[in-house]
C-alpha cells in the first residue's frame, strides 16, 4: 500500500521534486567549486586557519536551503490536496486516516531525503579533498541542525496545512517560527554538539503533529 501512495505522490511531485533537487545540488556544486577556487587563490595555510581558528566551513551559505526545501516540499505536497479538497477522499480510504496520512508524510520525507543526502555527500566529498579527517566531524555536526530544520520545516508545513481553523494555523506558524529559529543560533563548528540529540528527538516526535491535524480535520473540530 505504501508503494501505491509513494507512486501517487511521485506522479504529483516529480516535476517540483526535480526542480528542488536541481536547485539544491546546483547550489551545493557551486559552493564546492567556490571552495576549489578559494583554494586556488589562497594559500592552504590561510584556508586551514580560517577553518580552525575562525570556524569558517565554506558551506555556510547553504544553511537555510534545507529549511526552505522542506517548507516548499510540504506546501507543494499538501496545498493541492487542501485547495481541491482531495484530502477528504484520501481520509476516507479504507486503511484508516492515521495510516494514510503517515504514508503521505513518509513519502514526502523520503523525497526530501533524496534531495538532502546527495548534497551532504557532495560536501563531505569535496571537503575530503582539501581537509583532514577532523573537518568531517565539524562538517557533519554543523550540517546536522540545518538538515534537521529541513525535516522539521516539512512536518510543520504539513501540520499547518492540514489544520482547518485559521486560529490554530497562526498558532502553528508562531510555534514553528519560534522553534526553527533555534536551529540557526550560530554557525561556528560543533556548537550544537550538546543539544543535537535533543533537537533530533524533537524532530522525530513532530511526526505526530500532522496526524493530529488530520484527526481534527476528520472530526470537524
Amino acid at each position: 500500500m505504501f508503494q501505491a501512495t509513494l507512486y501517487k505522490e511521485w506522479i504529483k511531485l516529480r516535476l517540483y521534486w526535480a526542480l528542488l533537487f536541481a536547485a539544491n545540488l546546483g547550489f551545493a556544486a557551486y559552493l564546492s567549486l567556490r571552495l576549489r577556487a578559494v583554494h586556488e587563490f589562497n594559500t592552504a595555510v590561510t584556508i586551514w586557519g580560517a577553518w580552525i581558528f575562525k570556524g569558517y566551513l565554506f558551506f555556510n551559505a547553504y544553511h537555510y536551503a534545507p529549511l526552505v526545501t522542506g517548507l516548499l516540499m510540504g506546501a507543494l505536497q499538501f496545498l493541492p490536496e487542501i485547495f481541491s479538497k482531495r484530502i477528504r477522499l484520501v481520509l476516507h480510504l479504507p486503511i484508516g486516516e492515521e495510516r494514510v496520512v503517515a504514508q503521505h508524510l513518509l513519502a514526502g520525507l523520503l523525497l526530501l531525503t533524496l534531495i538532502l543526502a546527495p548534497v551532504a555527500a557532495l560536501f563531505a566529498f569535496t571537503s575530503g579533498i582539501y581537509f583532514p579527517a577532523e573537518f568531517q566531524q565539524n562538517l557533519w555536526l554543523t550540517l546536522s541542525p540545518w538538515l534537521l530544520a529541513g525535516y522539521a520545516g516539512y512536518l510543520l508545513a504539513a501540520t499547518l496545512l492540514l489544520e482547518t481553523t485559521w486560529r490554530y494555523r497562526i498558532f502553528y506558524l508562531l510555534l514553528g517560527g519560534a522553534a526553527l529559529r533555534l536551529f540557526f543560533l550560530g554557525d561556528f563548528y560543533d556548537t550544537y554538539l550538546r543539544v543535537l540529540s535533543g533537537f533530533a528527538l524533537w524532530t522525530v516526535i513532530l511526526f505526530s503533529l500532522p496526524l493530529f491535524s488530520s484527526y481534527r480535520f476528520r472530526k470537524g473540530l
Binding site: 592552504a44 586557519g49 492515521e98 579533498i129 582539501y130 573537518f135 550560530g186 556548537t191 473540530l221
Partner: protein, 418 residues
C-alpha cells in the same frame, strides 16, 4: 497518537515560552550594570575605579571620592603615560625609579582569560611555529600537528601526513619520556606576537612539558626537571584544567595554569617559578581573569556577573593590597525578583560563558510554585464549570502544574483534541 501529539505540543510550547517570554521580559526590564574597571595607583597607593553610574562615567576611589579626569590620570601615570607626556605632566621618576617611555612600553603586560575559552569547540590541530627562524617576524608553518598515540604532521597543501617529521617528533617524545595520550594542550597559535613559547602539554601522568620547534628540531622539556628540587612536589600536585599562553614583550609570564579547583598560577621567568595567585573569588567557568602589569606592580583582577576582585602584587609577586566588591546580581534586583515569581523557570540556549549551544535551565523563586498552584486551581475550576472531564485533561493539568504561566497560556492557545 493523539496523546503523543498533545504531549509534543505541550512540551514544545513550554520549552519555547520558557525561552522567549523571559527573553522578552528582560528586553524591557533589564538595566545596564557594568562592573567597575579597577586600577591601582602607584602614586597614592590605593585602588581607583572607572564606574558607570546612570550612564555617566565617573572616576572614583574606594571611599567614593570623585576625581576630575586630569587628576585621575595623574594618579595613574603608568596607565596614562601617553596623555601625560603629551601634556608634559609625566614625572621623571616614580617611587625612586627613573621613567622612560621605552621602559614603560616594554614593562607593560596584559593577559586575559575569559570563561568562554574554557568551554568552546576547537579543532585539535596545532601549527607548530618555528621559534628561532632567524627572521624578524614569526611565520605560519605549512603543516599542522595532531596528537594521537604519537605525533603526526599533516601537510596542508597535499592534505597528507608527513612521515619523516612525524617519526622525528614521535622519537623526541619517547626520549623525553612523554606518556601518551595528551591530556591538555596550551598554546597561542598566532604569528602576531613578539616571540613563540611553542606548546605546553600535559601528558597522561599529569606532567607538564614544553614543546618548541627550534631551527627545525623538536625541543621537548619536562618542566619538573627544570625547576628547583624543593619546588618539584608543587608541580607534581598540579591538576591543570586549562593552560593559557600569551607571549608578552618582556618574556616574564611564560604561561598561566588554571587548575580544576579554580586555583590559578602564573609561571614566571626562565626558571619556571610557580606563583599562586592569592584570589578568593575566582571561578574560571564563570568569571574573567586579567593580569595587568607595569614597571612597578602587577594587578590581577577578576570580573564576574556578581563579583569583582583585585589583588596588587609587587614585581616579585608579593601581595600589596586586595579589594573585593559584590554587585547586585540580576535576579536579586526588583525586576529579577518579579521575574522569579512569574516564571517558574527560564531556559536559555546560549551563554556568555560557553561557545556551545546548551540547555541552560534556571529555576525561579519558591513563590512561583504558589502561582503555579493558583493557575492550576483556576483551570480545574473552569473545567468543572464547563462540566468537562478532568481525567481527559491530565496532560494539560500537568503542564500548568509544572509550567505555571507557560502551561496556562498554552492550554488557552493550543488546538484541542475534543
Amino acid at each position: 497518537m493523539k496523546l503523543i501529539a498533545r504531549l509534543t505540543l505541550l512540551i514544545t510550547g513550554i520549552v519555547l515560552l520558557a525561552h522567549y517570554l523571559p527573553a522578552g521580559y528582560w528586553l524591557v526590564a533589564d538595566k545596564s550594570q557594568r562592573a567597575p574597571f579597577i586600577f591601582y595607583s602607584c602614586v597614592s597607593n590605593q585602588f581607583l575605579f572607572n564606574r558607570v553610574i546612570n550612564g555617566e562615567l565617573s572616576h572614583t576611589d574606594s571611599h567614593g571620592k570623585v576625581y576630575e579626569r586630569e587628576e585621575f590620570e595623574s594618579l595613574l601615570p603608568l596607565d596614562n603615560y601617553l596623555q601625560l607626556y603629551k601634556d608634559r605632566r609625566m614625572p621623571k621618576e616614580i617611587n625612586g625609579v627613573a621613567v622612560t617611555p621605552e621602559k614603560l612600553r616594554r614593562d607593560r603586560i596584559n593577559l586575559r582569560i575569559k570563561p568562554v575559552v574554557l568551554d568552546s569547540p576547537a579543532v585539535a590541530l596545532y601549527p607548530l611555529i618555528e621559534s628561532d627562524s632567524g627572521r624578524v617576524r614569526l611565520e605560519m608553518p605549512g603543516d599542522f600537528m595532531r596528537f594521537g598515540r604519537g605525533v603526526e604532521f599533516i601537510d596542508v597543501k597535499s592534505n597528507a601526513v608527513i612521515a619523516g617529521k612525524s617519526a622525528q617528533f614521535t622519537a623526541a617524545f619517547a626520549t623525553a619520556k612523554f606518556v601518551f595520550p595528551v591530556k591538555l594542550v596550551g598554546g597561542n597559535p598566532s604569528t602576531l606576537k613578539p616571540y613563540d613559547e611553542g606548546y605546553f602539554l600535559v601528558d597522561s601522568q599529569n606532567s607538564i612539558f614544553q614543546l618548541r620547534l627550534v631551527r627545525g628540531e623538536p625541543e621537548l622539556k619536562r618542566l619538573t626537571d627544570l625547576v628547583a628540587p624543593d619546588k618539584q612536589p608543587l608541580w607534581a600536585g598540579l591538576k591543570p584544567l586549562y593552560l593559557h599562553v600569551q607571549e608578552q614583550d618582556n618574556h616574564e609570564v611564560r604561561f598561566i595554569i588554571v587548575e580544576e579547583s579554580g586555583r590559578t598560577h602564573l609561571v614566571v621567568g626562565a626558571d619556571y617559578q610557580l606563583v599562586a595567585l592569592p584570589l578568593e573569588h575566582y571561578n574560571p567557568t564563570t568569571t574573567a581573569l586579567s593580569v595587568r602589569g607595569d614597571m612597578l606592580n602587577r594587578l590581577v583582577a577578576i570580573n564576574g556577573e556578581a563579583q569583582v576582585e583585585a589583588v596588587v602584587l609587587t614585581r616579585d609577586y608579593q601581595l600589596v593590597d586586595r579589594y573585593a566588591e559584590t554587585l547586585p546580581a540580576r535576579k536579586d534586583r526588583l525586576a529579577g525578583k518579579l521575574a522569579g515569581i512569574i516564571f517558574p523557570f527560564t531556559l536559555e540556549f546560549e551563554s556568555e560563558t560557553s561557545g556551545y549551544v546548551g540547555f541552560h535551565l534556571d529555576f525561579g523563586r519558591p513563590a512561583a510554585l504558589w502561582l503555579n498552584g493558583g493557575l492550576l486551581a483556576a483551570l480545574i475550576g473552569w473545567l468543572l464549570v464547563r462540566k468537562q472531564s478532568l481525567v481527559h485533561r491530565v496532560p494539560e493539568l500537568l503542564a500548568v502544574a509544572v509550567g505555571g504561566v507557560f502551561g496556562f497560556l498554552l492550554v488557552l492557545l493550543m488546538p484541542q483534541a475534543e
